[in-house]
């Protein structure tokens, strides 16, 4: 029975036993079957070129690494965790990852050294840096050393998840000079925006905001991400600067009677998409 208990705990199955006088015992087991199957096309599973995306987390705090791991596994990513800097450097160098989540304060080898080493060997690997420091100078140093994004602790899980999705998507897209979403076209070199062939005049901040939203089209972008990427600020603002600029942008790029391009995701931020979506 002890063996059955152990099986039950390990597999999540349910066992039942009944004894019949003079006839012995009968066992009944109810278990879940995990089948490998093709997913319907409309499900957004993080798959690239037929394989699940693999992420390396370099984090020495085991409980935090475990929470992040559980959350990302629930989103169907494949995860590896390195508990110290040396291990992270070796793993990032030897295996093929789609993303590296790197804590800067690691034992044995600090995050900045790992960043340098990994960037030299794998220039295209997206790296998301986690740290407790929020100063602009620290962010500039990390980005100069080759980090693709920067998230200050204590972060919320949804923020981390949104940034991972944005980074992974961006890393698999060619760096095009012209970005198109539906009939909206943005030329990054000529600094020109057109919708349905009509030119739209934008200020430099509006252009930067639209470019950021278009580069992450179809993804939820938080207000904090917009503030950091478009305004280069690492703190919340008292005012609703993001909402005001999004409103200005909407007035310029959306047609009064047409469907919305920039969708508000309540409590999160915005998403630019040419397909209509239910309001949240």
């Amino acid at each position: 029975m002890g063996f059955l208990d152990a099986c039950q705990k390990l597999s999540g199955s349910r066992f039942r036993s009944r004894s019949f006088f003079g006839k012995g015992l009968s066992f009944c087991a109810r278990t879940s079957l995990y089948l490998s199957c093709t997913l319907p096309n409309n499900q957004k599973y993080p798959v690239f070129r037929g394989r699940i995306m693999r992420i390396l987390i370099a984090e020495d705090d085991s409980s935090l690494a475990s929470f992040v791991r559980k959350g990302l596994e629930a989103e169907h990513y494949a995860l590896d965790v390195a508990a110290d800097g040396e291990q992270a450097r070796v793993m990032a160098g030897q295996f093929d990852y789609d993303l590296l989540i790197l804590d800067l304060n690691l034992p044995r080898l600090d995050g900045v050294s790992i960043l340098r080493a990994v960037r030299t060997r794998k220039p295209s690997l997206p790296i998301l840096v986690l740290t407790a420091r929020t100063k602009v100078e620290d962010r500039v140093q990390c980005l100069d050393l080759g980090a693709d994004d920067y998230l200050a602790k204590p972060f919320s899980y949804s923020e981390l998840s949104a940034r991972i999705r944005a980074l992974l998507r961006r890393s698999h897209l060619p760096a095009e000079s012209v970005i198109t979403v539906g009939d909206l076209k943005l030329d990054r070199v000529e600094r020109r925006v057109e919708r349905g062939g009509h030119r739209i005049e934008l200020t430099s901040k509006e252009f930067a905001l639209l470019e950021y939203l278009m580069r992450n089209a179809g993804r939820r972008i938080t207000r904090a991400m917009i503030i950091e990427h478009v305004w280069n600020l690492s703190f919340d603002t008292c005012t609703n600067i993001v909402d005001v600029y999004v409103n200005y942008l909407r007035r310029k790029i959306e047609l009064p009677s047409g469907p919305r391009l920039i969708h508000t995701i309540r409590g999160v931020g915005y998403e630019l998409s040419s397909h209509g979506r239910a309001a949240e």
Binding site: T134, V140, K153, A175, T203, F235, T239, I241, V244
Partner: protein, 251 residues
């Protein structure tokens, strides 16, 4: 590998650096942010997995809200401490250019709030503070000013040449904001208290950044208007750095 000797010059320098006030505080904030991040992630995941309408879901959501609040307080204290770190000496920037850029950037926010943002910068000399610090401090100040302003009023931003540069911000606070600089009142609702505190944190950060670079600050109010004055140290024109464009991430 031998242990470092504390009696050597390098050992003494290392020890001095290791017990510096700001790095120690930075380490403490890092340690505090670790369990907070863990808690936030754990509660968010539990909330995701819990059944809708269950009692545990309500409790987890309440706990998550509390943790979010602690995280916000932690971030505010951290930002204040970081603002107090010693400024890099020898840097300078053109204040008028910085102000023009920021006023342009914040004008849509002002228009949305029906507030006029007026700039009068006749000070063309460089000031002895780094561009990044000035941008950060001025953004905090203008953000603060816009937040507290009453509708259909104007914010006047002045930079005048005197012995040093006098930067003045003139704001007409809304009636509900008139006690913004007073201590927190028990009669205020928690939300109003948080908003007021967040607002005063922004002002304190700006003040600390500028004072850390040698500026002097004083505030006064008259006829329903709030005046914030900063005496900013000027730099010689040769050392002025050109205004660098805001940092852009690689595509």
């Amino acid at each position: 590998m031998g242990a470092p000797r504390n009696d050597s010059a390098a050992g003494q320098a290392g020890l001095t650096r290791n017990c510096d006030y700001h790095p120690i505080l930075g380490e403490l904030f890092h340690l505090l942010s670790q369990p907070l991040t863990g808690l936030r992630c754990s509660l968010a995941l539990s909330l995701k997995r819990s059944r809708a309408r269950s009692r545990s879901r309500t409790e987890i959501a309440a706990a998550l809200k509390q943790v979010e609040r602690i995280s916000w307080l932690n971030a505010s204290i951290h930002a204040l401490v970081e603002a107090g770190e010693p400024a890099t000496r020898g840097e300078s920037c053109a204040l008028a250019d910085c102000l023009t850029e920021l006023v342009d950037e914040l004008s849509p926010v002002a228009r949305a709030k029906r507030v006029e943002l007026r700039l009068a910068a006749n000070h063309r000399l460089p000031i002895a503070i780094g561009t990044q610090q000035v941008r950060s401090a001025l953004f905090h100040l203008l953000d603060f000013a816009l937040f507290i302003s009453a509708q259909r009023t104007k914010i006047v931003v002045k930079a005048e040449a005197a012995k040093d540069c006098i930067f003045t911000l003139q704001v007409t606070p809304a009636a509900r904001m008139s006690r913004i600089l007073n201590p927190i009142s028990d009669r205020e609702t928690p939300n109003a208290r948080d908003a007021s505190l967040q607002c005063r944190v922004r002002l304190a950060i700006a003040r600390k950044i500028l004072e850390g670079a040698g500026a002097k600050f004083h505030a006064h109010s008259s006829a329903g208007r709030l005046f914030l004055h900063f005496h900013l140290p000027t730099a010689s024109q040769e050392t002025a750095q050109p205004l660098t464009p805001p940092l852009r991430r690689p595509a």
